[in-house]
């Protein structure tokens, strides 16, 4: 499905896997026209979230060093970033796992591997942008 989204969105994408970042950026920028700020770690994401005007953060769950849930805790503790909605990216497909991530305060969860053609629509749906 080709996205019909036309609004320009600016998001922070956090994943330690370079190839996953590359595909997600290609999908979101070329297909949906979004602007994507990439980060390769939780620590980098926290720094960038403080200074970049992003409307949402797409955050991988399992990363070396600071994982996604810990990163979210830091974002929630900082008044500069606590109101930025977060969507987790995870290969955990069990509903209980996804419910647990939402219970941490995430706006939504998108399963990995994602379909590049529908990634923008999936994120928009989770973020209430549809």
């Amino acid at each position: 499905m080709v996205s019909s989204i036309v609004a320009t969105r600016r998001i922070l994408l956090v994943d330690d896997e370079a190839d996953i970042r590359t595909v997600a950026i290609a999908a979101l920028e070329r297909l949906a026209g979004w602007s994507v700020v990439p980060a390769s770690s939780g620590a980098q994401a926290i720094e960038l979230a403080r200074v970049e005007a992003v409307e949402a953060i797409v955050l991988d769950v399992m990363m070396p060093g600071m994982d996604g849930p810990t990163t979210l805790t830091h974002l929630q503790a900082d008044e500069r970033t606590r109101d930025i909605p977060v969507v987790f990216l995870t290969a955990k497909v069990q509903q209980a796992d996804q419910d647990g991530l939402r219970a941490l305060g995430a706006r939504g969860v998108v399963a990995k591997p994602f379909d590049p053609l529908t990634l923008a629509d999936s994120l928009s749906s989770e973020l209430g942008w549809s």
């Binding site: 080709v2 896997e17 190839d19 996953i20 590359t22 595909v23 290609a26 999908a27 070329r30 297909l31 399992m62 070396p64 990216l89 290969a91 497909v93 990995k112 591997p113 994602f114 379909d115 590049p116 053609l117």
Partner: protein, 107 residues
């Protein structure tokens, strides 16, 4: 625009596929070792995690599911009776064949 994205994905896959095949081999060896009671090294778990999250983006969704099972088995460690390691080995071999041949899942 989706045709343009398809071209981008094809180019990315061309550059990523050798690494994906190397990771699959690392995972296959680790699963084989698991059957011999040897716990997986971190790089094998990491390789399985990467494959689980990435193969499906390039059209190998079935491969992602097998990699996810392998990741769970490697994290669980040796001696887990609920994992059929021989079946997992066979499935990993099929994924290697599928990826090597560029046979993507039907759309």
């Amino acid at each position: 625009v989706s045709d343009e994205l398809d071209e981008v994905l094809a180019r990315l896959w061309d550059s990523h596929s050798p690494a994906a095949l190397e990771r699959l081999e690392v995972v296959r060896q680790a699963v084989r070792s698991l059957g011999d009671g040897i716990a997986a090294a971190d790089d094998a778990v990491s390789a399985a995690h990467n494959l689980a999250g990435s193969l499906g983006m390039y059209g190998f969704g079935a491969g992602s599911k097998v990699a996810l099972r392998a990741e769970a088995a490697l994290r669980a460690g040796p001696g887990r009776g609920d994992v059929d390691l021989e079946e997992l080995q066979r499935d990993l071999t099929q994924v290697v064949e599928q990826v090597s041949a560029g046979r993507r899942d039907p759309k």
